[in-house]
């Protein structure tokens, strides 16, 4: 059942030339330190890129690029591969000229410079961010071939910033009347989203400037973005310029025209922010070819917008029988969790699935269970169990099962 032949490591009588003939790098002098003051991946890693899905959007400035989940390890997404979602293009803003304003139901509206925000006490937290439309192309049927396109509007970083509640308190927020906060960006779309005060009061909503140890990348909102753990990415407003405290939600374009979940009865669910518990196998996954029969470590990612992942189960027979997978620690709140299961592939077709359970007891549904309640036209919040078919040839395909 071997598909593409792997570089053979089989010994010729004497042995493998890659061993017997010492390579150049074993016999020479390499490159100096600080050849790159800021380094980059190996030249053999150029296939690992974020990509657009052809035909998905009509413009490239109101569009998305997907993270290559099929090639990532652990839980941290390299910032250069973080998925992108822009509504009116991205900018590289001069931080010395950027300001943050707080207004609305506060004693005194305030203005902060980036210098000032970076002087305040900060916290750093590992969090996942998932677009509400992630896996949205697959609500009705299989539409795209690989996990990059099915689940790649997902990334995970260590974010650093100031709890928004600190800034609101500095402005003298009215926490009695002020039950909603409007977050607004400084880009052309001036993206606006209504943020629940309950989350803000918990301290977990951050006005962030740091991502994986350095400043946010321009594509991800440099110099300031909101971090709203567990909530869909569109609420993580980039190029953040203003926060307004109010007593009503704002019904902004992306909460009154998009990011609405269409139900079978024709109503739209509005203000549906939470990314419910979900998981996906990333290795092996669609568009890949297993090189051989034998042992494989099935691995993937699980997450929940409601807290920690408690369990992940894996099935190799399309959901009939399941085994508990190993969870990779540390298992963190509203953060990706990697799971693994040992598997010996016997060369017969197999249907691989993963199913996550979070600490609230919520169990990730299969398509039948999900569609029974929500139909198949929602676009948003598709957290169904993903199936990969391993064919006898070793080729892995994206499928949906009955």
């Amino acid at each position: 059942a071997a598909g593409l032949a792997a570089a053979p490591a089989t010994a010729q009588p004497a042995g493998d030339p890659a061993i017997l003939e010492l390579p150049e790098h074993t016999r020479g002098l390499g490159q100096p330190v600080a050849a790159d003051g800021y380094g980059k991946p190996s030249r053999f890693e150029t296939n690992v890129q974020r990509r657009q899905s052809p035909g998905l959007t009509q413009t490239r400035q109101a569009s998305v690029s997907f993270a290559p989940l099929q090639s990532l390890f652990g839980i941290v997404t390299p910032s250069g591969l973080h998925f992108e979602r822009h509504h009116q293009g991205w900018w590289d803003i001069d931080p010395s000229k950027h300001r943050l304003m707080i207004n609305g139901l506060v004693k005194a509206p305030k203005v902060f410079t980036i210098d000032e925000i970076m002087r305040l006490p900060s916290v750093s937290r590992f969090r996942f961010i998932e677009c509400g439309a992630n896996t949205g192309m697959e609500w009705g049927n299989v539409a795209v071939p690989t996990v990059q396109y099915t689940h790649g509007m997902l990334s995970c970083s260590e974010f650093t910033g100031v709890p928004l509640i600190t800034l609101l308190e500095m402005a003298g927020v009215d926490l009695k009347k002020g039950r909603f906060v409007l977050a607004e960006g400084a880009d052309g779309s001036s993206m606006t989203r209504t943020i629940p005060m309950s989350l803000i009061r918990s301290g977990e909503v951050l006005v962030a400037y740091g991502q994986n140890g350095e400043m946010l990348r321009p594509e991800n909102g440099y110099p300031l973005r909101l971090v709203v753990p567990g909530i869909q990415g569109v609420s993580w407003v980039k190029y953040l310029r203003r926060l307004e405290v109010g007593d009503q939600p704002y019904a902004t374009k992306d909460e009154a025209i998009h990011y609405l979940d269409l139900m079978p009865d024709g109503t739209h669910r509005q203000y549906s922010g939470i990314q419910e518990c979900k998981s996906v196998i990333t290795t092996p996954s669609g568009g890949q070819m297993l090189l051989d029969q034998g042992y494989y470590s099935i691995t993937g990612l699980a997450w929940s917008g409601r807290g920690k992942v408690k369990q992940v189960d894996v099935s190799v027979d399309g959901g009939r029988n399941w085994k508990a997978a190993r969870l990779q620690g540390p298992v963190l709140d509203k953060c990706l969790t990697r799971f693994q299961l040992d598997w010996a592939w016997d060369g017969k077709p197999a249907l691989l699935q993963s199913r996550a359970v979070d600490e609230t007891g919520y169990v990730q549904p299969n398509y039948r269970q999900l569609r029974a309640v929500r139909g198949s036209r929602s676009i948003y919040h598709n957290n169904a169990i993903q199936t990969w078919l391993v064919e006898a040839s070793g080729e892995v395909k994206n499928v949906q099962v009955s």
């Binding site: 099929q70 005194a108 071939p145 039950r179 203000y271 549906s272 890949q288 189960d313 029988n321 099962v401």
Partner: protein
């Protein structure tokens, strides 16, 4: 204000707040006074919008169509009938929109796409009115203004089409439900599934996303599938 962090931050001036506080809420808080006619709106539309959205808002060149799919009957009931029909292809902006404030706010902040915040208040009123006219919500003599916009709201085709009765908002602020709508069980063996492949990509679409061999690392437990071969092969 608290004083834990002296010297950090300062009060905003009224002019500063005015410069940035542009949002318009469903109750029209934030809406500046002003007015604009459908006729003026047509001029604005054809000069500044139609190139992307089509003369009747029907184009999906750069985005989903804005207009279409609503009926005068919807304006009466406040529910867009076509949203119930699973067979109807696509959803226009006007089919979904429940709050006219959203339209005003968004055009004011973000359109034209390549020159956001370039419209005058009158132009925003006018072009919003024109779009409402294209959607048969107002007639061609209408002059949309801060004083009559609340009446227009009462005729929005999908004004009764939204619900917050769900568990996807984290707090209690919107009267949602605490219990998730989809409830699966953690069945471990002999689970009630058919496990038959019901949907897959047709073979001719294998290369619709390019050559997958080039989208996977050339080393590791597997390779990407070669979906494109040189013409010669």
């Amino acid at each position: 204000q608290d004083n834990r962090f002296p010297g950090i931050g300062r009060n905003a001036t009224p002019a500063e707040v005015a410069a940035w506080d542009i949002d318009v809420r469903p109750d029209f808080k934030g809406l500046p006074p002003g007015a604009g006619s459908v006729a003026r709106g047509q001029e604005v539309w054809e000069a500044k919008c139609a190139s992307c959205h089509g003369v009747f808002g029907e184009s999906n060149q750069v985005f989903n169509p804005l207009i279409g799919g609503t009926s005068p009957d919807d304006a009466r009931t406040g529910r867009v009938q076509r949203l119930v029909e699973p067979g109807y292809p696509g959803r226009t902006t006007m089919m979904k929109l429940a709050t006219v404030s959203t339209l005003w706010d968004y055009i004011n902040r973000a359109m034209p796409w390549n020159a956001p915040k370039s419209l005058s208040v009158e132009e925003v009123y006018a072009v919003t009115g024109y779009m409402l006219h294209l959607a048969q919500v107002v007639d061609d003599k209408f002059v949309l203004s801060d004083r009559n916009i609340a009446d227009v709201q009462k005729r929005m085709p999908n004004r009764n089409g939204m619900t917050t009765k769900h568990a996807l908002w984290p707090g209690q602020e919107l009267g949602g439900t605490a219990r998730p709508d989809v409830r699966a069980a953690r069945c471990m063996s002999d689970c009630p599934v058919e496990a038959k492949v019901a949907s897959f990509l047709p073979d001719h679409a294998r290369d619709a996303h390019g050559n997958l061999a080039e989208q996977n690392r050339p080393v590791g437990p597997q390779r990407g599938v070669v979906t494109q071969r040189p013409v010669a092969a």
